[in-house]
């Protein structure tokens, strides 16, 4: 057992090291060259004015957003996979990200036209998060109700895909009936990426993400029992209903808040928990959750570094990069030797 513990600590240390390394690489990546020894100057004094602005207003917030977005989307995916006992569950697959998008659409296209000042303050962060989380939670509730009747993994996933399309249709419908300015605001939001969060938005995102993560941490012990099966969990005294509500809330808050500011980030939520299972070899959520969190941040930072590779100064959409990383993992889960049912 001690050998086991040492391995886990070693794993966490190496993941943290990779995370820090990629964080620095991400700060340096971009069309404007910033050297490593300039960084302390930006943080503690004043250096080259243009570089300072690029660093403090753009690179640093972007890297921080990548860390938060990767961690929260991945943990949200992990919680959903355990809750549904379904290895292919994840915010984007089950339509939870679309639900968050619908929440934002309702806010921007329906409530906003009533009051312009309100819109401005809402876009600053809290309103956006609130609507996105409620949207995400609503879709999760629907999926959970369905999956309590339908046990088959594939059926639940197909229903998730259908719900995602249905939600997109509702958003299109809302767009059809809204005026030009509102539509423009919404379209800009949908193109959102991790690179344009305002300081107040970043603050809101951090606070809500930490809250969601803390909520998940309180459920670490029940999560392990729930993974064994609902009847077992109940027989050892887990209050399934309470745990489920808290985990729902956590998963919705985590996926909703990121989606609110960064738009839907594809395949991170579904793929990273599996990567964490492989690197840690664990099924205990005390190990899985931190591994998933660190791996998620690493993958997101790596994706951001990759998206800056084109030398022309243009940046690839981060969604494309995460998809290209995540989809092979998902295919491997479905078609791999162990098969979809043996991935837990």
């Amino acid at each position: 057992m001690t050998r086991n513990k040492r391995n886990i600590i070693l794993l966490f240390l190496s993941l943290t090291f990779i995370l820090l390394l990629l964080f620095i690489v991400d700060l340096l990546a971009g069309s404007v060259h910033i050297s490593l020894n300039e960084i302390p100057v930006f943080l503690f004094g004043d250096g080259n004015a243009t570089h300072d602005i690029i660093f403090m207003k753009f690179r640093l917030p972007k890297a921080l957003t990548a860390v938060i977005a990767g961690a929260t989307m991945s943990v949200s995916g992990l919680l959903m996979q355990t809750l549904f006992r379904n290895p292919l569950a994840g915010p984007d697959v089950l339509g939870v990200s679309s639900g968050a998008g619908l929440g934002v659409a309702i806010m921007l296209l329906t409530f906003a036209p009533l009051n312009n000042a309100l819109t401005a303050s809402m876009m600053s962060g809290w309103g956006l998060i609130l609507f996105a989380c409620v949207g995400a939670g609503a879709v999760m509730l629907i999926i959970m109700l369905i999956s309590s009747r339908v046990r088959d993994i594939m059926t639940v996933l197909i229903i998730g895909v259908l719900i995602a399309s249905a939600v997109s249709s509702v958003v299109t419908l809302l767009q059809y009936f809204s005026n030009e300015t509102m539509l423009k605001t919404y379209v800009i939001w949908t193109m959102g990426n991790i690179g344009n969060l305002s300081p107040s938005q970043l603050k809101a995102l951090s606070i809500v993400s930490v809250a969601g993560l803390l909520l998940a941490v309180t459920q670490l012990k029940p999560l392990n029992a729930i993974l064994m099966g609902d009847t077992f969990a109940r027989s050892v005294g887990v209050n399934i209903r309470t745990s489920r509500i808290l985990l729902f809330a956590s998963a919705s808050i985590l996926a909703g808040s990121v989606t609110a500011f960064c738009g839907p980030i594809a395949f991170v939520g579904i793929a990273v928990p599996h990567i964490a299972r492989i690197v840690s070899g664990a099924s205990d959520h005390k190990v899985l959750l931190p591994s998933t969190l660190l791996s998620g941040s690493i993958i997101m930072l790596a994706s951001d570094v990759i998206s800056n590779i084109p030398p022309s100064g243009s940046v690839l959409p981060i969604n494309t990069v995460t998809s290209l990383i995540g989809i092979p993992v998902v295919i491997w889960i479905i078609a791999g030797k162990k098969g979809i049912k043996k991935s837990f």
């Binding site: 006992r85 670490l220 012990k221 077992f232 109940r234 027989s235 050892v236 162990k338 043996k342 991935s343």
Partner: protein, 341 residues
């Protein structure tokens, strides 16, 4: 033998499901009890309500009326936390995990005792190690669950239940889907635990043979009623026969086994004694021959399994020799004058 303390009992218990448009009763007037150190097999046909009874007795489901008493205390008056430390329940829910080690799975049995993070303490380790030891899994502790046989996986569930350190262990069909040797080894493990650890163990099963041979007491569910007693008592008072007998299935009261009923195709007389006679009789019954003293054909079994073999004396006085029961039965099958039809 001094009788152990009473662990669990029911009083006019009625089980079933309460629905908005009235209750659906599964069984009522259930009065059974279980004592410390007893192994109890719950037996009944499919759909007779075995799982419902076990779920009600473990507090996983509310009774429709009547009460369950855990050590003379009403189940409903015991807090959920205390209950998880007195009763462990293993349902038919299989372990659907693959990336989990045997040790970790068993450690989950410590759930009611660990802190909010589920940290395994030194004391927990001792209990887990003992549970692994008792179930013969110590050497597999580091193995992943998906590398175990079905029988070993069932042992993991039993070890997990033991790690919960409860006086009462309730298991729903622990021997389902297992082959015959594994079924016996699981039931004899349960028996060992009831003897050595003084656990009260209640398990449901379809496997009459192991239940009759190993359990101290049967709870027999039949046509809306439950009767309890030693397996032998239930054989003698014909409760077992009544529970399972049908026009196509008959119960042999001397051997305690069930047999499919077919109309006999012939009759023979049988002479001999000892185990060779018993096995010959078995083969004749399986071959649908009735044994009657007035039959025309006489079969003599050898006293010992030597080369004199079996003899058939035909009505004409002719003596035929056979070296195996197989040949004997084949001859009778093809001899038209033996057959009634």
């Amino acid at each position: 033998m001094e009788k152990g303390r009473e662990i669990i009992s029911t009083e006019n218990l009625a089980i079933g499901y309460s629905k908005s448009h009235g209750n659906s009763m599964v069984m009522k007037e259930i009065n059974v009890s279980a004592f410390r150190g007893e192994l109890i097999a719950l037996i009944g046909k499919n759909g007779s309500g075995k799982s419902t009874l076990l779920r009600t007795m473990t507090g996983m489901q509310q009774p429709l009326s009547g009460s369950v008493f855990m050590k003379r205390k009403k189940l409903n008056d015991i807090s959920r936390t205390d209950l998880t430390k007195t009763i462990s329940f293993t349902s038919t829910e299989p372990i659907d995990l693959h990336n989990i080690k045997v040790y970790e799975a068993v450690a989950l049995g410590r759930f009611p005792y660990t802190n909010w993070l589920g940290t395994i303490s030194h004391d927990d380790h001792i209990v887990i190690d003992e549970s692994l030891n008792l179930t013969g899994l110590s050497h597999l502790a580091d193995r992943k669950i998906d590398r175990l046989s079905d029988g070993e996986r069932q042992r993991v569930l039993i070890a997990r239940s033991l790690a919960q350190d409860t006086e009462l262990l309730v298991m729903d069909e622990p021997t389902a889907f297992l082959d015959l040797p594994s079924r016996y080894s699981i039931v004899s493990l349960l028996r060992k635990l009831s003897r050595e650890k003084k656990k009260c163990i209640i398990y449901s099963t379809h496997d009459l043979d192991t239940a009759i041979n190993e359990a101290d007491k049967l709870w027999l569910m039949k046509s809306g009623k439950i009767s309890q007693g030693a397996p032998e008592d239930l054989v003698i008072n014909r409760s077992l026969a009544e529970a399972f007998e049908s026009p196509s299935l008959s119960f042999n009261i001397s051997s305690g086994t069930f047999r499919l009923v077919r109309s006999p195709k012939g009759s023979v007389r049988l002479e001999g004694s000892g185990y060779l006679r018993r096995w010959t009789e078995r083969a004749l019954v399986r071959g649908d021959f009735r044994i009657e003293t007035s039959a025309k054909y006489l079969i003599k079994t050898p006293d010992v399994a030597d080369d004199t073999g079996w003899q058939i004396i035909t009505p004409g006085g002719e003596i035929k020799h056979f070296t195996s029961i197989y040949d004997l039965i084949n001859y009778l099958d093809e001899e038209p004058s033996v057959n009634l039809k």
